[in-house]
Symmetry: C2
Subunit: 236 residues, 2 copies
């Protein structure tokens, strides 16, 4: 049997975790077309492992919703359609409205969290004034911003739910930040959110986060619609 070489650098030392990580990575970045069929033996060949770890990996991915299991007939990768993407943006909104409201009302829990928020402020002020970054980097920073807020609210379960959502939205955040001026408007929105939180302005914080998230949702919505329209016009 061949070593782990071909598999993503795995912190857990077992094959099936590595396989989960790589497949998830591929699926999230849309390296597979939607509805792409995955079979166990095929994956065994690509990873040079036996069926046991592959099976376990697929089963985990299936419960996480990244692939769908066809009984006795294998698996297909399960890409979210436009409706589900927008739904995920709304769940984000629900969770984050609650988060900023909480933060604005009660303030960050401890010193560390306060420092984190200060750091966020610096990051996004710098971003506003200075260097233009790639969409991928912006998407990463944006995700970090929102997860740091949840972290500061001190609710681990909420953070966990937010993370599972963000995991699925990664690619769409990149699409979002491809839009001209989106970076700049995000900076303003993020700074406004932080300001409202420190000023304990609850309605302001809610409004700001809502604007931020809905702008993202709208950008993604139009981008996908455009892409589909283009694809259609080429065909005909």
């Amino acid at each position: 049997m061949i070593r782990n070489d071909r598999i993503v650098e795995g912190e857990p030392s077992n094959l099936s975790s590595s396989i989960v990580a790589t497949l998830k990575e591929h699926i999230i970045h849309w390296h597979y077309p939607p509805e792409h069929r995955l079979t166990e033996v095929e994956l065994c060949k690509t990873f040079n492992v036996s069926r046991s770890p592959v099976r376990e990996a697929l089963r985990v991915l299936a419960t996480d919703g990244f692939v769908k299991k066809l009984p006795n007939r294998g698996y297909v990768v399960r890409q979210h359609n436009i409706v589900e993407i927008e739904e995920l943006y709304e769940v984000r909104l629900a969770l984050e409205l609650y988060t900023v409201e909480y933060l604005a009302k009660r303030g960050p829990l401890n010193k560390n969290d306060k420092e984190d928020l200060v750091k966020l402020k610096r990051t996004w002020t710098d971003l506003l004034n200075g260097s233009s970054k790639k969409a991928e980097e912006l998407a990463r920073l944006d995700t970090l911003f929102h997860e740091t807020l949840a972290q500061a609210a001190g609710n681990k379960m909420l953070l966990r739910h937010l993370r599972t959502i963000n995991e699925r939205l990664m690619l769409f955040r990149m699409i979002d930040f491809d839009k001209t001026d989106r970076a700049k408007s995000t900076c303003h929105q993020h700074l406004k959110i932080l300001k409202c939180i420190t000023a304990q302005d609850t309605p302001g914080a809610r409004a700001a986060i809502q604007q931020n998230i809905e702008e993202g949702r709208n950008n993604v919505h139009t981008a996908i619609k455009d892409a589909l329209a283009r694809a259609y016009s080429i065909k005909t």
Copy 2:
């Protein structure tokens, strides 16, 4: 090998799904003490199956957070502590505040959903006037109430997140409904929520759902505290 007989009536025809279902059931109902250790071979014996399906089941439960994997040392059942339970109640609150706000603003999406809400109203009116039910049944109906609201809002992803939370809270809902008069106050709160939604009274709906959920959280909180205190006083 022995048949599925001993396993919960499984709709999916494979062993590992059945094992997941049974184990989850046991864990949710606290049939295992917290930190109870589970080993593969032990489960093989209890279910009369080989290690393959058991392994897959455990791995799924681990990703769902029902058990924790100790590398190379087996699994322990992962019961939520009091803090996490309260966190889950807050995530519920975040999601449901958004739900009722959505419903109050835009109304239920279609005829079916409208009918569902009417049904809810009837159910909880009957409950208010009539028969007293067992805590278990009330917990079930309560869960159904809240999930029906999410359903009516038409956001499948939101419903999915709510369900994973409710799954973990089942036992605590029962504890909640053990409290005297909790059934009655729940009826009033639920009816108020429905009334506010149909009257498009957004702040009213938000306040009502908040009261409903926080009362539950408080009941569970004090019940657990009491139980722990009792356990402690017995010991000393």
